[in-house]
């Protein structure tokens, strides 16, 4: 079928949608009369931008494709950390539909910001990544990713899992604000694995890609040398608590890592498997600084909404110049638009007398 014109592409999309849908039903669904749709698909009438948006939504195609016949260059490609169901062995992202809405908002924020500098080359192996991120990277994990690799990290509530995507060569990792820092660390590492392996174009993610990303993440956070040095067979419960605190991982992630390395889980680990990591820490980890509730502080940090500084800075500049709406900036900062301390320039409206003259309501002075 010819798809040279917008009308022809709409016709094609209607034909592709399903044989059970008639043009009449499509017209009704998008608020056009059957005659208007028929004339528009035969290039006898133009489409309004509202009609195209509704048609794209209803027919499940991109507006950009309807307009140009080409895929949208800004189409979001991403990888997600899948949930693993131990009972069925299935991997899925049950919150994907809701997450799509949040990801669309993130995509909008980046699109409005314009081109930010691309990320640096992302190391392909965990060892190379550790080298780039430097020692003790797990505590300032997000800062190191942004400072050393220009990989952005967004943390927002309501996401069901971690995602990674690229916008004009800049990688973005989005994680839910849950306060669960060990889950967050593993998500960051998991998404880095997808980025390093170039999985962002694979949709849907394969089982093999998910498993590989988990292995890569475990290796990054718990290198073999560290596991060996920890001497797990003789580890005490206090030693286990120190391990999960220092490496920023959970009890279960630790158990999985030992299993993957062929190291038998010690009794203390088997006793704690399936229990809350925070419970272990609160009972058996001793904060080096007395009086400081470091566990709550770390949890609080991992529960905070955050957006990368370069993204925020770009929005502030554009809002101040009047180039974009302040609403996305307000959303990122979680404040009302009127509460923003960023002011767009004052723009004088037209002169009412001039309009009156122009409309012939007053004589020319």
């Amino acid at each position: 079928m010819d798809t040279q014109t917008i009308g022809a592409r709409v016709r094609r999309a209607i034909a592709d949608r399903a044989s059970s849908v008639t043009q009449y039903q499509v017209a009704e669904a998008v608020g056009m009369t059957p005659d208007a749709l028929s004339r528009a698909t035969n290039d006898k009438r133009a489409f309004s931008s509202v009609e195209l948006a509704r048609l794209a939504d209803y027919l499940g195609v991109e507006v950009h494709w309807l307009i140009t016949g080409e895929p949208d260059p800004h189409r979001r490609r991403y990888a997600a950390r899948h949930r693993f169901d131990r009972d069925t062995g299935a991997r899925d992202v049950p919150g994907r539909d809701q997450d799509e809405l949040i990801l669309a908002d993130l995509e909008l924020a980046y699109r409005q910001a314009g081109a930010l500098p691309p990320s640096h080359d992302v190391p392909r192996t965990p060892a190379e990544m550790r080298e780039v991120l430097g020692s003790g990277f797990v505590r300032p994990f997000i800062d190191r990713l942004e400072e050393r690799l220009a990989v952005d990290v967004v943390r927002v509530p309501d996401l069901s899992t971690g995602y990674s995507f690229a916008v004009d060569g800049r990688y973005v990792i989005a994680v839910p604000a849950t306060g669960n820092w060990f889950w967050e660390n593993f998500s960051l590492a998991h998404e880095l694995a997808h980025v390093a392996a170039g999985h962002l174009d694979d949709e849907p993610a394969t089982e093999a890609a998910e498993l590989a990303a988990n292995r890569w993440a475990a290796d990054l956070l718990m290198p073999r040398a560290d596991v060996v040095a920890a001497d797990f067979p003789s580890l005490t419960v206090e030693g286990l608590a120190s391990w999960v605190w220092d490496h920023g991982v959970s009890i279960d992630a630790t158990a999985n890592r030992l299993d993957a390395l062929g190291i038998e889980a010690p009794l203390v680990l088997r006793e704690w498997m399936g229990q809350k990591t925070q419970r272990l820490l609160r009972r058996h980890w001793r904060c080096p600084e007395p009086g400081l509730d470091a566990i709550t502080a770390r949890m609080d940090e991992a529960a905070r909404r955050r957006f990368p500084q370069p993204l925020l800075r770009a929005h502030v500049d554009l809002v101040e110049s009047g180039a974009i709406s302040a609403r996305t900036l307000a959303w990122m900062l979680d404040v009302a638009v009127d509460e923003l301390e960023v002011e767009p320039p004052a723009r004088p409206g037209g002169d009412v007398d001039e309009l009156a003259v122009g409309l012939g309501l007053m004589p020319t002075p």
Partner: protein
């Protein structure tokens, strides 16, 4: 030289809320035009209770202007991106974006009436003069289409309907000073 006035749906709604579509008609004097997206938004709004008066606009504003080329459609999408915010649906702000794209792209000697601050900013950056509902009401007062007492009543009505407030107006005295001083 005559001026063409493109209103957006915020302005059309306000005059309909006042049940004074006739004032806008008399202000525009046959020089009002609209874009297809605004015409579409107007048709949707006219279905709402209290906005039935909007059904009169097609006869006043005539056949709408449509984006004519893929380039014009892409320009609409680009401009819309500057106006939308998180959570906006797929058709939000298309009326304002389409109007600005068509006026600026076709170099129409026209002004744009909208109460959306971001849309006014966008139009201004494209060199399009903008007006608000308040400007048009004030104009109606200046050319004596409406007397001051009635206009003050309209201000109170729109304010009560959460349609904003004229700049600098907080009571009748400031209204008289600002609009007729």
């Amino acid at each position: 030289m005559t001026t063409i006035l493109f209103p957006d749906n915020t302005v059309l709604i306000n005059f309909a809320l006042l049940n004074r579509v006739d004032i806008l008609d008399r202000i525009m004097r046959g020089q009002g035009r609209w874009c297809a997206a605004v015409s579409d938004e107007c048709a949707q709004s006219a279905k709402e209770v209290g906005l039935e008066a909007m059904a009169a606009y097609p006869a006043i504003l005539g056949s709408p202007l449509f984006p004519a080329t893929p380039a014009e459609h892409l320009e609409v999408r680009l401009l819309r991106d500057r106006l939308v915010g998180p959570g906006d649906g797929p058709t939000r702000h298309l009326g304002e974006a389409e109007t600005v794209a068509i006026i600026s792209g076709r170099q129409i000697d026209a002004v744009f009436a909208t109460d959306d601050r971001d849309a006014r900013m966008l139009a201004d950056m494209r060199g399009i003069t903008t007006y608000t509902t308040w400007d048009l009401l004030r104009l109606a007062g200046k050319v004596k289409l409406v007397d001051p007492d009635t206009l003050w009543g309209y201000v109170l009505t729109l304010r009560a309907r959460a349609r904003g407030n004229p700049p600098g107006v907080h009571d009748r005295r400031s209204f008289d000073l600002t609009w007729f001083g």
